[in-house]
Symmetry: C2
Subunit: 263 residues, 2 copies
């Protein structure tokens, strides 16, 4: 029942992308995240304390191990290990580009920080964005830091890797948004409820190749608008402000339809 | 001119709060951040490569050292060291509570993650929020991770530590906002342009003691609004969405005044 040295080594090896890819699995830790993933992803191995297992008698996993807190600490990649960890199979799905016609999606152009990607998945979940397309050079969605930061969002939001330019060129009549310092004030635009919102790399922003395919350039105004700020916003922060505004407009127009109220 | 073993040890020791507090200094790294801090904080020690120093002949510091990339790597706390690092004096200012009467401020109730605090400082800078009050248990603003994540925001935004309850009790007639799952839809409220927006701890949210002092409870609606999401938003993300909406309303009402345009 205990966690062998080999198992500990195996679990810790999943910090590296090449090992995750070879095994087609990912690691998730903590009661909240494990609960969220149950039923969405097949669990190959679950290692948990006696206390946690008693409280979750119906947990499903190919293999379940009762472990001591000390064993868990040795396997865990977290600073503060939490009662349970699981190894889950990476899902095998393909996304139809058709989703861009009827829903609002995110396109991530080389996001590099695993925490940023996880935070974006979490906020996408909150704002009902079901699909995220990542450029091939975007950080791996199955990085443990990304999975932990997604806070279970990964159970609902579908993430796939595809050259963004292929996606956009094939779907020429969909709105493709991106944020730029020379874009239009987002609060003065009528925003669609389908299409793609592109967010760029942390240091370089949106690549030139992708910029040329964007047909609606947006700008998040700073405040006061005349003030000089030398800095941009963090990419996850910008994504949140943009998604919030798309959804504010959507809810507002739905309410108007519902009540017949005027603008 | 080179970086002695003792200096390297000293620089690296500033990763710990007790050392920073004893010395009343903080560490900042990278050309962008160092440029932002110049003129705002006194620089005690600057260590930079020959190349960087040649490009910045007017840099001001009590002591300037030309160092090799290899020496810089040994002193740096970053994964990817960047040409220059500096040790700056912690500022010594006190904030008058009066600022709550005429400007919009943030109050952070035990934020624990240094990256979150830095990201909040960065977005506060963007949205023109000049003052952040932190509860005494909030993570240290001079943590290197916070300084780096603030991206220079720390040069403009003033951060001070104070028991938030004292601040609120003394200023009873100011609006005090906080986000709660049972709050009012933020998009349906008329938001003030002064007062305090409280943001809570990553795991526990706003403490009960502070909750009782909040007179305007807000809620960031998820989308679609009927959908169940088990998760909340990351605190920096929620802060951004809230600040963006305060400033959207402010800009909108200023535009109306300016043009005489109707709502």
């Amino acid at each position: 029942m205990a966690l062998s040295k080999n198992k500990i080594k195996y679990i810790r090896s999943l910090d590296l992308k090449k090992n995750r890819r070879e095994e087609k699995v990912f690691l998730a830790e903590g009661p909240k995240l494990i609960a969220e993933l149950q039923g969405h992803y097949r669990c190959r191995l679950l290692a948990a304390t006696e206390e946690w297992l008693k409280m979750h008698p119906n947990i499903k996993a190919d293999e379940t191990l009762e472990v001591s807190s000390e064993e868990l600490s040795r396997a865990s990649l977290l600073k503060t290990p939490q009662q349970v960890l699981g190894i889950f199979e990476q899902p095998n799905f393909s996304l139809s580009k058709d989703v861009l016609n009827h829903s609002l999606c995110l396109g991530l152009d080389d996001i590099q920080d695993p925490g940023n990607l996880g935070t974006i998945i979490r906020l996408a979940d909150w704002f009902g964005i079901e699909y995220i397309f990542c450029s091939p050079n975007t950080v791996d969605v199955y990085s443990p830091k990304t999975i932990q930061a997604s806070m279970g969002g990964i159970a609902r939001v579908k993430v796939c890797y595809v050259p963004l330019e292929n996606l956009i060129i094939l779907e020429t009549d969909i709105p493709v948004y991106g944020t730029f310092l020379n874009g239009e004030n987002i609060y003065e635009q009528s925003l669609s409820q389908n299409g793609l919102i592109i967010m760029g790399n942390e240091g370089k922003g949106i690549s030139q190749k992708i910029e040329s395919l964007i047909n609606r350039k947006l700008y998040i105004p700073n405040y006061p608008s005349q003030r000089e700020t030398s800095e941009s916003l963090n990419v996850a922060i910008a994504t949140a402000v943009v998604c919030a505004e798309f959804r504010r407009q959507a809810a507002f127009s739905q309410n108007r339809k519902g009540t017949g109220e005027k603008l």
